[in-house]
């Protein structure tokens, strides 16, 4: 899955609001394949020729919904980062998290905290997907606002 930073490289980043969203929000929708690059009016301008095609390449084909996964409800999340700290994948693969800090932007981790909300970035690393769905549910179990849903 393309990261938000990769997607934003091909967006105008001017927050013009013509699509009704900021560019950061638009990138999140693109990442989830809920909007297409053509939905950005600015990308149709001559200055951005080729950006739509490049974005399509970065985004790739929409993946089918995995057998198991997770979703974070942005209305409930307070960005406390308990899920980031407790995640078993993070514990083994991210030194910053082991030191009770947040992961850096480009680290290959499952959760990032962006603008006060937790976003799922690399769900494919989750123990539930790699091994078995019943293996781990610490993130959802300890979420104080019950913002994480496992399916």
């Amino acid at each position: 899955m393309a990261t938000l930073a990769e997607i934003r490289e091909f967006l105008p980043n001017s927050d013009c609001g013509q699509c009704g969203l900021t560019c950061a929000e638009f990138a999140e929708f693109l990442q989830r394949h809920e909007l297409a690059p053509e939905d950005c009016p600015v990308l149709h301008e001559l200055d951005y020729a080729g950006f739509i095609e490049a974005l399509r390449e970065v985004l790739g084909e929409p993946q089918t919904k995995p057998a198991a996964g997770m979703a974070v409800d942005p209305k409930k999340c307070i960005g406390c980062g308990i899920c980031v700290t407790l995640c078993e994948y993070h514990l083994g693969n991210c030194a910053d998290v082991r030191l009770s800090k947040g992961p850096r932007d480009l680290e290959q981790v499952i959760f990032h905290i962006v603008n006060g909300l937790v976003v799922v970035v690399h769900q494919e690393h989750c123990t539930r997907l790699v091994q078995a769905a019943e293996k781990c549910s610490k993130c959802a179990q300890h979420c104080p606002t019950k913002a994480i849903t496992l399916y």
Partner: protein, 435 residues
């Protein structure tokens, strides 16, 4: 220092709450924060200018100084607003400089100078529960540790009238419940946790022992815990016995207390908590730790201790400085200068009515429109401390941290305005015209 319009700032310090998290990565585009990573919702609301409980809803920033004239707002120059403020403070018999917990150290020092010049009382916004804490420290001695030591060593944590998930959300991850330290490598799995509150909070699902008490029953619970730890005779409830046993089995314990203690008989509660900590300290290290909320609340008490030798509210009105542990009686105030706080948010309707009836002039220095600016006679917009202006702030354990400016500022800082106000007051007292 010139702030670039586009920048990536790594390991910035967040001015959202007293945790002052120092692992925030901020991307600035076109002179505004585009993305902040590793920041909780509280911090994001400050850095991105959103409402605290409504993310993505922008707070209205104040742009120009305003004076209320015959019930209507008039836009004025900064100098005119400062002159009007000085006039209000000079005319008043019992002026009060209120708040300052959400202001940087520079602004706090300038506000202290203003309070001296205006012969005013300086009232920290959280005096109601911090003054009894400092008094209990004086009585029982200091039990102190930095947050890093607590993270590394504490294996038993008690939250008394405190909910870090509401006051400082990342505290639980960085320093307390879930944090992994040198001797607490398994973090949450090897900590024993308890919480005491009058409401069922989010902590109830995270802690081993959650004691929900009726309002006003905290003191009797505390006395039962004291009795149980003293192994003296007396009726002790099962829950108090369980809490006492947990505390006595600790190898390194911390009692975090928050604003919740201010709803009970605060001096007695804090005296009891400090007494309990002192007793537990005879056998094992134990710390009594106030869970400050506002980002530089601790800085204000450091300033007062350094400058005046007392953490209580100083009053410069009676010729020489006197100190108050009791919170302000709003009926005594006849002019109010509010910096880094929003008292009209929590004042009762009767108190606000009384201030209106007595026509108490309110001057508000604030970066955003809030309830206090809505009731103010003079409004002075300021830059966001720690975001648009560099500031120094003290973390909740007393560690001073430098907050660099992340964005260019279009407004003067609260420190600049307060210094200008102090100068205007000084000139007025000497009967000179300020140049």
């Amino acid at each position: 220092m010139r702030i670039p319009l586009e920048a990536r700032i790594e390991s910035a310090v967040c001015p959202g709450c007293a945790c002052l998290c120092d692992d925030i990565d901020v991307t600035v585009v076109d002179g505004r924060v585009y993305q902040a990573a590793n920041i909780c919702l509280w911090g994001a609301s400050k850095v991105l200018g959103h409402k605290r409980f409504h993310p993505k809803k922008e707070r209205r920033r104040l742009a120009q100084p305003l004076i209320r004239h015959r019930g209507r707002w008039q836009t004025v120059s900064v100098d005119a607003a400062i002159d009007r403020t000085a006039e209000i403070l000079i005319k008043a018999r019992q002026p009060v400089v209120y708040g300052l917990t959400n202001a940087g150290c520079g602004a706090q020092a300038a506000a202290l100078q203003v309070a001296r010049q205006a012969q005013a009382r300086l009232e920290p916004a959280d005096l109601a529960w911090k003054a009894p804490y400092y008094q209990s420290l004086k009585k029982y001695g200091v039990f102190w540790a930095t947050l890093e030591v607590i993270r590394d060593e504490a294996d038993t944590l008690v939250f008394w009238g405190a909910n870090p998930l509401h006051s400082c959300p990342r505290h639980v991850v960085r320093y307390s419940i879930f944090a992994r330290g040198r001797f607490t490598e398994r973090g949450y799995d090897e900590r024993r946790l308890a919480a005491v509150d009058i409401h069922r909070t989010e902590l109830a699902d995270l802690v081993e022992l959650f004691l929900q008490v009726e309002p006003g029953q905290e003191l009797s619970l505390l006395q039962e815990v004291l009795t149980a730890t003293a192994a003296a005779g007396g009726a002790v409830s099962k829950k108090a016995r369980r809490l006492a046993a947990m505390l006595q089995e600790a190898h390194y314990g911390v009692i975090f207390f928050g604003r919740g203690v201010s709803y009970g008989p605060t001096p007695e509660l804090l005296d009891g908590l400090a007494g309990l900590t002192a007793r537990l300290n005879e056998h094992t290290p134990f710390v009594l730790f106030p869970l400050s909320t506002d980002f530089n609340a601790v800085g204000l008490y450091h300033l007062l201790l350094r400058e005046l030798g007392s953490p209580l509210a100083p009053d410069f009105g009676a010729g020489e400085v006197s100190f108050h542990a009791e919170p302000l009686r709003w009926t005594d105030v006849d002019a109010l200068l509010v910096v880094g706080a929003d008292p009209f948010w929590f004042l009762s309707a009767a108190e606000i009515q009384d201030l209106h009836e007595r026509r108490v002039p309110v001057v508000a220095l604030s970066p955003v429109a809030n309830r206090t600016t809505g009731h103010a006679e003079v409004v002075l917009p300021v830059a966001l401390a720690g975001v648009e202006t560099p500031e120094l702030a003290y973390r909740m354990d007393g560690l001073p941290l430098s907050l660099p400016a992340l964005l260019p500022a279009s407004l003067p800082s609260d420190q600049q305005l307060l210094q200008q106000l102090a100068a205007a007051l000084g000139c007025s007292h000497r009967g000179m015209a300020c140049v």
